[in-house]
Symmetry: C2
Subunit: 141 residues, 2 copies
DNA sequence: AAAAAGTATTTAGCAAGCTAACTATATCAT
DNA sequence: ATGATATAGTTAGCTTGCTAAATACTTTTT
């Protein structure tokens, strides 16, 4: 039955993303940040002084989520907030030195996990896989 | 650069699982349950009277998570709890009629999403994909 | 210029996750 | 039989998410 294969693909996908998140979370804890915060920081590493709305867009999440994440990251000294000079509604987020220092180790952890995931997959298989993934992604939108 | 492909695979994977979770969550809201609760219920549909420890194992999560989920599901009338007769430490979880009725619509939603995900993928491609996914999964353990 | 509409962020309250620390019961060893 | 250890579950407190509602400031309309 073809249905069997389909089901296995979906379950496999769920287990992989579940386990990846677990592993990544665990490795980020060593750096004193939580999974998801790395994604926020990665936007700041590209460029500081971003508004919370821009972070929402980048993380594809709702404003209250950003409020909480920013609060936590600020309390732990990775970022600081400053009100915009021209528009008193917007908050601009900046990296502290402590936040800047996190870039290399986080990127290392990310790369490490990526290599673990694809370890046994040959280059030509990776091309096929990448293609199929992109097509599945398109199906969802 | 091969690195590019690898990165795309990983990011694609993240986006797919993110979007799938979002969509599935949204469709489950119509049934008045939350994403994750369906997984707990699916264990009960196989067989009632399970302990919370068994649910932990099935959901691969920690005991406090089960405590909360079970509390929420009980408050909403999908399940009920009964202390084990022989061991006063353990709680056994049973489905109410309302909980039993959820099985078909939840399974339908699940199948619907699976079809959406694999829509444009040909049978022979699904075989290859399933194989590659299984290998990636093995890499993580 | 004042009212209305729009935008950025926060608060409150919920669920899924986690860890650490606790309670209650059961079993095992001395 | 009593003390030590193990097991099942709960509570408290945290983070990531959400929605709905509130606040504060800006822009548009009239």
């Amino acid at each position: 039955m073809n249905d069997m294969v389909d089901c296995e693909i979906r379950q496999s996908l769920d287990r992989i993303s579940f386990q990846m998140r677990r592993d990544y979370d665990e490795s980020l804890r060593e750096l004193n940040i939580y999974v998801g915060q790395d994604n926020l920081l990665s936007r700041l590493w590209v460029g500081d002084g971003v508004t919370q709305m821009q972070l929402c867009e980048h993380l594809k999440c709702e404003p209250p989520t950003i409020t909480n994440m920013v609060k936590s990251l600020e309390q732990n000294g990775f970022i600081y907030r400053k009100r915009d000079e021209h528009d008193a509604r917007v908050m601009r987020i900046y990296l502290t030195d402590k936040g800047k220092e996190l870039q290399k180790p986080v990127e290392f952890k990310w790369k490490q996990q990526q290599e673990k995931l694809l370890h046994s997959i040959l280059p030509e298989e990776r091309l096929i896989l990448g293609e199929l993934m992109k097509r599945m992604e398109r199906n969802l939108f």
